[in-house]
């Protein structure tokens, strides 16, 4: 006899920084359906941008998310530069690349730490966040700020970097290569993690494409898509690097893709710092003609997509922001169904869902009595206990 239970995850929880609401429908230990409710913290940024001048909008959109605060302004300025047919100076393109790759390293390390915590690997959590710290220092060296870099502007970047700054960024990035490589090998070679994460939360290639999955979520499912390579922007077509992807679509594949990308990002930074040309950093754009354009950028979580329409005035008529989690979170419908409850926390975490991107939170309620069964902390605990169990078996 089956007894269906509804588990609410959200909308508020101390572990999570913002609100989002997942409802899991479970039959015994199996998840049979997932529903997501978002937008508890909708800030109306698209509406707000219509009352900002083209120059002010980058400072608004970098506040969409404290982690992707280099990607959003870049996607926006690329759309506006397309409308105004601006040729951005070479040096500015390299400076944009450096800041965006630093952002990728710190975002992926943050994810590795949280994923480690969900699985009961608190040492991984401590290490990953420790190695993330110098990268934030490098961002401070590069832009003057650890978050909200205020780096991009239409036609170029706002601040140049001196040779000493570039050397310091190179040093900090290079020093993080060893520890990240160690972390990567520790994850890829760990038999417990193989047992715990392989064949968990599988998102098939066809589903990934139908749901429009982007970034590591898509690449973990065998879609070799990366905006940096396919539609090159900044200096990505001037530097030698490669796209990492995995075919299996499980949580392990997504973790591996993220870790290998982190190492690749270090290499991109090293090459960009060594190859950066001199010259101007700003094309000095005067006005924006009427027109419309799209700009997209590979943020750490996936493609961030912006659409801008101009009517020739100082203000955008319409500015659409689509953050990567908006496309990645609906993939839970394909990846969570059929899973055990103990695997849900890590499957949800595997797409690196971002509250700022989209929004979230969690508790579990018996559908009939209304009694709270689990909250997100207990789901994490279930997940950690499963890892312990596997560890003892091996």
């Amino acid at each position: 006899m089956s007894h269906k239970t509804m588990i609410n995850i959200g909308p508020f929880h101390p572990l999570q920084e913002e609100a989002e609401f997942f409802q899991l429908y479970v039959d015994g230990e199996r998840v049979v359906d997932v529903d997501v409710r978002i937008s508890y913290n909708h800030r109306g940024i698209e509406k707000l941008d219509e009352s900002k001048t083209f120059d002010q909008v980058p400072f608004v959109v970098e506040r969409v998310c404290g982690i992707c605060s280099a990607s959003h302004p870049l996607a926006y300025v690329q759309a506006v530069e397309d409308i105004a047919h601006v040729q951005v100076p070479e040096r500015a393109l390299y400076l944009r690349t450096i800041v965006n790759e630093l952002e990728r390293i710190h975002s992926h390390l943050l994810w590795v730490g949280l994923a480690g915590h969900f699985l009961g690997y608190n040492t991984v959590f401590m290490w990953a966040w420790k190695y993330r710290e110098p990268i934030l220092d490098a961002l401070e060296v590069a832009t003057g700020s650890r978050v909200n870099y205020a780096n991009c502007k239409i036609g170029g970047v706002r601040r140049d970097m001196t040779d000493e700054q570039l050397k310091e960024i190179d040093r900090l990035a290079t020093e993080s290569y060893g520890p990240v490589e160690m972390l990567t090998k520790a994850v890829i070679d760990d038999p417990v993690l193989h047992a715990r994460l392989k064949n968990v939360g599988v998102l098939s290639k066809a589903d990934a494409r139908a749901y429009g999955a982007t970034g590591p979520t898509g690449r973990g499912s065998g879609l070799p898509i990366d905006v940096r390579r396919d539609d090159p922007y900044a200096a990505y077509d001037r530097i030698d690097w490669q796209v990492h992807y995995e075919e299996s679509g499980d949580v392990f594949a997504k973790a591996k893709v993220r870790l290998l990308e982190t190492l690749e990002a270090v290499k991109i930074i090293q090459r960009a710092v060594r190859a950066i040309p001199g010259g101007e950093i700003d094309a000095k754009v005067q006005n924006i003609p009427p027109g419309e354009a799209v700009g997209h950028v590979e943020a750490p979580r996936g493609e961030t997509f912006h659409y801008v329409r101009s009517d020739g005035s100082n203000y955008p008529v319409r500015h659409k922001v689509r953050a990567p989690s908006f496309n990645n979170i609906p993939t839970f419908k394909a990846s969570c169904i059929g899973q055990e409850i103990a695997d849900v926390a890590i499957t949800l975490a595997s797409v690196d869902p971002c509250y700022s991107c989209t929004e979230r939170m969690c508790a579990a309620v018996d559908a009939e009595s209304g009694r709270r069964m689990f909250d997100f902390a207990q789901l994490v605990k279930l997940s950690q206990e499963k890892t312990q169990r596997l560890r003892r078996q091996l």
């Binding site: 429009g212 070799p224 009517d311 008529v317 319409r318």
Partner: protein
Amino acid sequence: MSEVAIPREVQVPLEGFVGEVLGALGDAVIGVERCDERRGFARIDPQRTVEVARRMLAMAGTRLATATGIDVRDGIDVLYHWCIEPQGVVVTLKVLAAGPEMTVDSIAPVVPAANWIEREMHDLLGANFRGHPDMRRLILDDSWPEGVYPLRKDFDQVRDRPPLPPAPPAPEEALP
């Protein structure tokens, strides 16, 4: 308040890979506004959005990036942005949700990626999508009044903001 007229149905020559993609859609494309190396903007027949979506998804390497709704003079302009990889092309297909009903056919039954974004456009702009599988609210709170669309051009954030709903009663059981 700036109102933008819907662009006239211009026809630019179909060139390169973007031209091939738009050409493959045949006479479902009723106007091409831009067609260059990496970007295409075209207007499609409002009667044939589902057919066009099905054809787009069947092409190699396509995915629906997102859609944009714009409040224009004659209704809501809905722009579906399709990315095609590895060519790195973005093709934007426009369809106007015109008339007092502002309705177009939903492509969500064919393309799951359109599910959330169509719900968002319904919430914020009041566009209607015929045949959408799950048109519940996604962005707006349940207490938000019906028929108030915050992303419309005539919505003023100060003047038109609805009053906050009454606070819910305190829960009997304290959270752990």
